[in-house]
Each structure stands twice: as structure tokens, then as C-alpha cells.
Subunit: 239 residues, 2 copies
DNA sequence: CCAAAAGTGTTGCTAATACACCCATGT
DNA sequence: ACATGGGTGTATTAGCAACACTTTTGG
């Protein structure tokens, strides 16, 4: 009852979110890279990046690896989303997918590769995907929008330092509604999730804006007993 | 790269919560059943009920099955908690565990079996468990307490109809703090998650209390795009 | 009548909203 | 000077916590 090998194969996939200006309207919206399937089932259809779990890597590592392999991106945020394991979700073999979701900076997303088999889609209007990936994307988007309101993940979309306008633009893009600049400022400043620096950002044709830095300590408190949940490893070491 | 069988085995475990009066103080507290391991690794240690995923059952089904096998309980609520898959979490073989958490009614918990290898523990003071199960229990407790405050899962601990005092007692037991009866009433009634019936509960040496019923429709809205999340199947059909 | 819990009312605080207004820069 | 966003002030409102008070039962 204990040691017989399972007939179920285990995969790890990732929903990757980035903000990009919409090519037509110019407004910032949520985008995600998808990969084209090159074998059955669902050949030719778009799907989430991912692959089988290697025996020598942790779940989050696996997500980060396949993410890097397909898009060359390094995520600022990576968190487990859900494990999908319905019997019939994959024709031709039982597959349980542990799905992660990741956030990458906008600047990075701009440089991201786009090939014949990797393309960016607007998150709210992805085509019909392979497997149950449409449901997964829908759920990930729901989590993103939900979590943005009670957590401090927005900073993952911006640089190390940022103006409050930039941060507000992130919120507006994700939540798809305009926010009052004055109230947004007070909310964010009051939450302690952000720390002012001494630098200002000049260059706009208006008053320079103060630059802020993310305050890691403040937001680690609401994350529960599970380890870090944010960047899988700041380790920039050679490898 | 695609079809080679994985070396990783897949298990499903469940953290089961019920409310029981503390044997000494008499106060309601959170309890959970644990099973004693009867083989290596960790022989003799207590662990979460669970087992390998059968190829012909969904993840939630598997959780419900092992839950029933060990405790004979039928949960009122069953939701996926997290997938634990660190490389070294199980000595002697890579195991990824998809963990669920369940809530069962207090009356049921009273009747629950307790054998040499199944025992109830107070959730806040479990002994040293097998594997990483202490972390899992801690996380499940955190989720329970968290979710109680923004969701309407408390009804899973009580019967089909209940007084607001009973519901408040659930909140107080889980959150470990007294709540103002007047404000609690307004909060619950105002949230629409509960519907008054025409019946009163007499018998106490005081004014009879109105009985309420859970309002399923109202709380399905905050649950995101994932299917039902509550009872795995109200199907009482023979099997 | 009294104890005890059910249920209602009121007050005061805090936080979110809406919006008016001043500030500092580039052109 | 003026347009543009940065940043502050403020009045209104909604929600919540604290607690006084009334109601209805069993004893």
C-alpha cells in the first residue's frame, strides 16, 4: 500500500504575468507568454510553459527553470497557485500539474523573446488553450487581482525604486480601473510596505516625484508560516 | 522529454479540523485526528491521514477517501491547501504531497473512532510529527483562522440550522478570543451569508434563539473561478 | 422575582472616498 | 505664463468596536 510507484505523472507549469502597453489603446494591461505545443495532445495549441518535474529539483525551482527556458525571464515573484489533477484533464494519460504563478518586471517583459513558438497574449483574452489551461489562467488572474488588494505584490512589476505614480499605474492596469492619486498615496504610505528614498525622479515636465523602495520586512508578516513565497532565490551567483 | 515516467511518487493527505470541548477547561478548541505510522520512515510517529493517489480518482476524492477510511468522518468542507514537494521532505524517496484541509461537524467528531492508531489532538499542541507535517498543520491552522474572517466556512462546524450563538462559539473557538454578541450578530446578518428560519430554539433557561440556515448562494461569489470548493459531493447515493 | 442569554440602540472612533487646492518642474 | 503631474488638506460617509439597555424565557 505504500511503496508502489504511481501511474500518475507529475508536471509543473507556470502562469507568467507582466504589464505591457496595449498595442492599440496604449493603456497598460496584463500580458502573459504562452508556448505552442509541438506534440500531441493538442499539437499547435497554445499552452502554459512547463514540463515534467525533475527528481532533483524542488517544485518552485522547476517552475523557475521552465520559465527561464521558454522566456529567458527571471521572475520577481513566484508563488504556488494550485494543483490540478482531474482524471480527464489530459487525454492520453493521467497528469497532475502543480501550477505556479509569476510576476516579471515590465522592462524585462519588453525585451522578452518572441518566436514562432512563444508569444505574448493579453491575459483577459487568451485563445482556446490546451488541456484545462483556460481555467488555470482564469484562476491565476483572479488570484492576482485579489491579492493585489490585500498584499504588496505590485512592487514585483516595477524596478527597485519607483515613484508612487508608477506603482499606481500597476494597480490601475491590474484592476482595470482608475485610482485616486491622493488616496492611493496615503494608503500605500500608511501601510508601511514602502519606504521613501532621498532621490527624486526628474525629467517629466512637472514637479519631480519622490522615489520609494519596497520594504520587505513589513509585508512578510501576512504571508503565513510558509517560507518566503517571493523571489525563489536572489542568488545571482555563477552557475 | 515528455513521456518518460516520473521518479516522484504522489500522495494526498488531509488536515481534518473539528471543534471539541477541551477535557480540562471545557472550552471549545480546535482538534484534529492523526494516524500513527506503522512502517518506515517515521514508524510510531503521528502523521496526517493520507496515502498514494489512485489513478482512477480525483485529488479531492482521494482526500475524502483516506479521510473516511481512517476516521469514518464525512467532511462538510474540503479544500486544497498546498502541494508540498521539497526534495528532502521524505527520507528514502521523493514524495510530493498534495494536502487538503477539511472541516467536520462537532457532533460527528464526538462519535469519531479513536483506536490505537488514530487519536485526536488539540491543533495548537500537536506532538512532533512525521515528515514536514508540523509545518503543514501550522499552515492549515493559519489558513483556517484567516479564512474564517473573510469567508463563511464557520457553518461547516455546525448543523443545518443553528443559532447565532452557536456560530459565534465557532468563531470564538477558532480565533481564540471572545466576540461581542451584538456586533457579531450584525456582521453575520448583514453579510447575507445566513438566512433566518421560522423556528426558535427553546430549552435554555433564557429567551429562545432564532434558528438560521446557511445561504449557499451568497458566498459562492467570492470563491473564484474554481469549481465548488465546498462539499466534495452531497451525493449520498449507495456505493 | 431573578438569572441568563437574545436581541436592539447609541455613541465614538477609524478608515475610505471624493474633491478642492497648492507646489515644482519643463517648455 | 501655463500645462502637467506631485503632493497636501479636508469634509463626508461607512463601517466597526464598545457598551448600555430592553426582551423573553426557565427556574
Amino acid at each position: 500500500m505504500a511503496a508502489h510507484a504511481t501511474d500518475v505523472s507529475l508536471a509543473v507549469s507556470t502562469v507568467i504575468f507582466a504589464l505591457r502597453p496595449h498595442p492599440e489603446t496604449g493603456r497598460m494591461t496584463v500580458w502573459m507568454p504562452l508556448v505552442r505545443r509541438i506534440r500531441e495532445p493538442f499539437v499547435g495549441k497554445w499552452a502554459l510553459p512547463g514540463g515534467p518535474l525533475e527528481p532533483d529539483e524542488d517544485l518552485a525551482e522547476s517552475a523557475a527553470r521552465t520559465l527561464a527556458e521558454t522566456t529567458l525571464l527571471t521572475p520577481q515573484y513566484l508563488e504556488q497557485l494550485y494543483a490540478f489533477g482531474n482524471i480527464d484533464r489530459s487525454p492520453g494519460g493521467r497528469v497532475v500539474s502543480i501550477v505556479y504563478w509569476a510576476l516579471v518586471r515590465s522592462e524585462e517583459a519588453d525585451v522578452a523573446v518572441e518566436t514562432e513558438n512563444v508569444r505574448w497574449f493579453e491575459a483577459d483574452s487568451v485563445p482556446e488553450l490546451a488541456f484545462d489551461h483556460n481555467l488555470i489562467v482564469e484562476y491565476a488572474l483572479w488570484r492576482l487581482r485579489n491579492k493585489l488588494e490585500y498584499s504588496s505584490i505590485a512592487h514585483a512589476f516595477v524596478g527597485d525604486t519607483f515613484t508612487l505614480s508608477e506603482l499606481r499605474e500597476v494597480h490601475e492596469a491590474v484592476l482595470q480601473k482608475p485610482l485616486d492619486p491622493a488616496n492611493f498615496r496615503r494608503q500605500i504610505e500608511g501601510s508601511g510596505q514602502v519606504v521613501p528614498t532621498e532621490h527624486l525622479q526628474t525629467g517629466g515636465r512637472h514637479r519631480p516625484a519622490r522615489l520609494y523602495r519596497y520594504n520587505r520586512a513589513a509585508s512578510d508578516e501576512n504571508n503565513g508560516p510558509l517560507p518566503s513565497r517571493s523571489l525563489p532565490g536572489r542568488t545571482q551567483g555563477a552557475s
